[in-house]
């Protein structure tokens, strides 16, 4: 998209960059000699799994190394300045004014105690680039360009008073405050819903184009990077795998690793149909209403889940997906309606359910970090449900734990005595699955189980869940906002919006038009691998509608 720009000069030139991290009382190299060249106005996409060193390289481009990291070799040349040898005080002047950084979570990066505009104008005033009122005026203009609602007023709110997508755009505006030459975007849309993601992407792309700013765009989502970047660099464990222009990379990846990244979204399994006749659904949610205090969050939600089937519940955050799960598990007793388990009504609160009722429905959580007690051994985490429900102990218990570890494809002897913090994200999620399986349930709620994981790891988890479903004939309720996941694993889809079920039906039917308007919005917002996807979509929707779509 920026290929038509006039002759570009080199802005950032990184040669043989090596970065070391401190762990276990010694320095270990985590980035092994990366070369990187960035011209003015160019957007470079850095992609790779977590731990590939993307963020570390992004920060190094500002001459910065995180605590416990150090730049141990190579050179970073920014517009003729060698950053590795520049004193800290000069680097500070450079950061914020000429190089800006947009972090993954805007909510965590804004100071909640100050108004947005005060934080926005801090850098220009600090560097004496403009006066307070001018800076404020400029901020409003930037807000307008980024299509924030009420650009003259929104800056005077506190960060918690605006939505996540708006905050992320405000942060992009803040990065532009000093008109930097280089902006580093570190996964700016990963924490957002698909519908909000689009507006942020469009805003970032526009502003980068308008001011001819160079950018490094860090992400693990290929479809996103395809929209944003001119060139893409693929990283693996601190090494460069390959670099090519976006079009070439998408059409003709050379290395096997890149191809495997591209292939992730291809996992698909045939859709199953509801068992015929008078089969009783495993779980039947019937007309439930629920409220937190006086705020009503669910209204008349009903759907059925049959044995051996996967029902995906999709919707934006705040649409009531997880609340429905809380109602089913009994953590939040519904105010109206009932939940049937194999035809029998479940007591509304988990406290009144029998041990066997509790055993039948298990849950796998989104964040494996908080779902596993960090101070308890793996053997105990998995063994406890087995002992609690089936009364196993001694050798029988150990055999059962080994069996479960085998089931989730982890070597029992290696993991038996370890603690959760010693495992990787994907392994933790597997332990979470094993804990659910240990109870021998018939029904499992998977709450965004893959959204915190890299695509390759996520695919492994999906395949595992699929295999377990076939072997153990489990029913899944799959809560997600990622439609690619839905496409690959679901049999039936329930679309929720603002606490109501908008549409539901078998997957194939749901992915065929005609859709409900909201389903259509969700579906069309999922990024595709086509580099022109965003442009086409924006044209179709009309630029002015983007903001509105996100306000839904």
């Amino acid at each position: 998209m920026t290929t038509t720009k006039q002759k570009k000069d080199i802005l950032l030139n990184i040669k043989d960059l090596r970065i070391e991290g401190y762990s276990d009382e010694k320095w270990i190299e985590i980035v092994h000699g990366i070369d990187l060249t960035l011209h003015r106005g160019e957007v470079l996409g850095l992609i790779g799994e977590s731990g590939a060193g993307k963020s570390t390289i992004g920060l190094a481009a500002m001459g910065f190394a995180r605590d416990g990291c150090r730049i141990s070799g190579g050179s970073i040349e920014f517009d003729g300045m060698e950053l590795t040898t520049t004193p800290e005080s000069d680097l500070r002047a450079l950061r914020g004014s000429r190089i800006a950084y947009v972090a993954q979570s805007a909510a965590a990066s804004f100071n909640p105690a100050h108004k947005i505009i005060d934080q926005h104008t801090e850098a220009p005033i600090q560097y004496r680039i403009s006066k307070r009122l001018d800076a404020q005026e400029d901020a409003m203009q930037l807000y307008e360009r980024l299509r924030l609602p009420n650009p003259t007023e929104i800056g005077f709110r506190y960060p918690h008073q605006v939505s996540g997508g708006q905050l992320q755009r405000a942060m992009t505006a803040m990065a532009m405050a000093c008109r930097p030459d280089l902006i580093i975007f570190d996964e700016p849309t990963t924490a957002l819903d698909v519908t909000t993601q689009i507006e942020v992407l469009a805003a970032i792309r526009d502003i980068v184009d308008q001011f001819n700013t160079a950018a490094i765009y860090i992400t693990h989502d290929l479809a996103v990077v395809a929209q944003m970047a001119d060139t893409i660099k693929v990283l693996l464990k601190g090494n460069e795998v390959e670099e090519a222009s976006t079009v070439e990379m998408l059409e003709n990846p050379k290395e096997d690793y890149t191809k495997s990244l591209w292939a992730v979204r291809s996992f698909q399994r045939p859709q199953k149909l509801r068992p015929g006749g008078d089969a009783v659904p495993v779980v039947s949610v019937q007309n439930i209403d629920a409220a937190y205090g006086d705020t009503k969050v669910l209204e008349d939600v009903s759907f059925d889940i049959y044995e051996g089937m996967t029902v995906a519940v999709v919707g934006e955050s705040g649409s009531g997906k997880s609340t429905t799960a809380r109602c089913i598990t009994g953590l939040l007793p519904p105010t109206k309606g009932q939940i049937l388990f194999k035809g029998e009504a479940l007591p509304p609160s988990y406290k009144n359910r029998t041990k066997d009722q509790l055993r039948q429905a298990q849950m796998i959580y989104q964040m494996a970090d908080t779902a596993l007690n960090p101070k308890v051994k793996i053997s105990e985490i998995i063994g406890r449900p087995a002992r609690f429900y089936s009364g196993l102990h001694g050798a029988a218990l150990k055999n059962r734990v080994d069996e479960l570890l085998d089931l989730i494809e982890l070597e029992p002897s290696k993991y038996y005595n370890r603690y959760p913090p010693e495992l990787s994200g994907g392994q933790k999620q597997r332990i979470g699955i094993a804990r659910a399986l240990a109870a021998e349930p018939t029904f499992i709620i998977c709450d965004e189980v893959t959204s915190a994981l890299d695509q390759l790891v996520a695919e492994g988890i999906l395949r595992l869940l699929d295999r377990l479903q076939k072997e153990l004939n489990l029913a899944y309720m799959f809560i997600t906002h990622d439609l690619a996941t839905v496409r690959s694993i679901a049999d039936e889809v329930v679309v929720m919006q603002r606490g109501k079920v908008v549409e539901q039906g078998p997957k194939e039917e749901m992915f065929q038009p005609p859709h409900h308007a909201y389903t259509d919005l969700l579906l069309s917002s999922v990024p595709e691998m086509d580099p022109n996807w965003l442009t086409t979509l924006l044209e179709e929707r009309g630029v002015d509608n983007v903001g509105e779509a996100a306000d839904v």
Partner: protein, 353 residues
């Protein structure tokens, strides 16, 4: 000019030069500023001032050496996992551990170590130190050193029991309050508020004058006074753990409250609780010493550091430092415990760098 002064400056300058040659900036700055400061001190205070500096440096070096050696000793005798932790301890922490260890030995083996009984009159009142009495005699002619040793057992032992009780009540209450929530939480919280709203020393004086001053009453009163602080801390810490998904998972499994506290919450809140235990111990210790000083704590003739300060207080006006010895014993223990606690806090929390 005495050889001592010549040697003193020669050593300092020599060491500064060595530090500078090996590019050790911080030691060099330290040594050389000490040299310059010594010029001034030498001019004002004469040789005796330099002697004081030398002795202070010597004492510091001795303490550092002891701490280092003690740490190495611990690393060797302890099992591997613990040894790895100890290895990272700063010298202050190992100094603290050494002092606590010494006090423990003194307290446990008091009858063997002490040359005389704790209430045995062996000399005239306020007799100065001699071969049989390391630190002289107190106002009744009892051996000061023996009483210090026995005091370690009585004062520290009492403080330890009181702290343990306070901790037991506070932590159990706090953990239950956080897990149960609702009216139970409210009830305990308000009780804690009531106790905390009364100034602790006045509360202790009041109760002790009602029930009389025996050991059991002291322990219970002190424990009641300090348990609300433990209650609040453990409730806050547990409050952060209770919202985790793994607690939800355990609840959904149908686990009881006691299991949740014991197996899920407690392992995740031990670090701040242990640190709090150290701090709490210091406060309890000081409160008991204060009560003794006021005559309401441990009753004579039992040796106790707080009351020893009071009994010998008259000596201070004669320029004798005997009453300061038990006070120093209290101070040293408090500082040492805090050293260890600091290190534990550093390890357990985000205080790194």
């Amino acid at each position: 000019m005495s050889y001592f002064v010549v040697g003193y400056y020669a050593l300092l300058i020599g060491l500064s030069c060595l530090a500078a040659y090996y590019k050790q900036r911080t030691p060099f700055m330290l040594l050389f500023s000490l040299t310059l400061a010594s010029f001034i001190m030498g001019i004002i205070g004469g040789v005796s001032a330099l002697w004081t500096v030398t002795l202070a440096a010597g004492a510091l070096a001795l303490a550092a050496g002891t701490s280092y050696a003690f740490r190495e000793f611990l690393v060797i005798i302890l099992p591997r996992e613990t040894a790895k932790e100890i290895k990272t301890a700063p010298l202050t922490a190992s100094f603290g551990m050494f002092v606590i260890f010494t006090y423990a030995i003194a307290g446990i083996f008091a009858p063997i170590i002490a040359p005389h009984g704790e209430s045995q009159v062996i000399a005239s009142a306020f007799a100065p130190p001699d071969e049989t009495m390391l630190l002289g005699a107190d106002q009744l002619g009892r051996d000061m050193f023996s009483r210090i040793i026995f005091g370690a057992r009585n004062s520290v032992g009492l403080a330890l029991i009181a702290t343990l009780l306070a901790f037991f009540m506070g932590a159990i209450g706090g953990l239950f309050a956080a897990t149960k929530g609702g009216w139970f939480d409210q009830l305990l919280g308000r009780i804690a508020d009531v106790i905390m709203s009364v100034p602790s020393l006045i509360f202790a004086l009041l109760i002790l004058s009602i029930f009389g001053t025996n050991l059991a009453v002291i322990v219970v009163v002190v424990a009641v006074i300090y348990s609300p602080r433990v209650f609040r801390l453990s409730r806050a810490v547990a409050g952060n753990v209770v919202v985790m998904d793994y607690i939800e998972a355990a609840k959904l499994r149908g686990e009881g409250t006691w299991y949740l506290i014991r197996r899920e919450i407690l392992p995740n809140s031990t670090a701040p609780l242990i640190a709090e235990f150290g701090l709490e111990f210091c406060f309890v210790f000081l409160l008991i010493a204060g009560l003794s000083f006021l005559g309401l704590g441990i009753q004579p003739p039992t040796a106790d550091w707080g009351s020893m300060v009071r009994e010998n207080a008259t000596l201070i006006s004669f320029g004798d430092m005997t009453p300061l010895i038990p006070a120093a014993a209290i101070a040293l223990l408090t500082v040492s415990v805090n050293f260890v606690v600091d290190w534990m806090l550093y390890r357990s929390s985000g205080l790194k760098e």
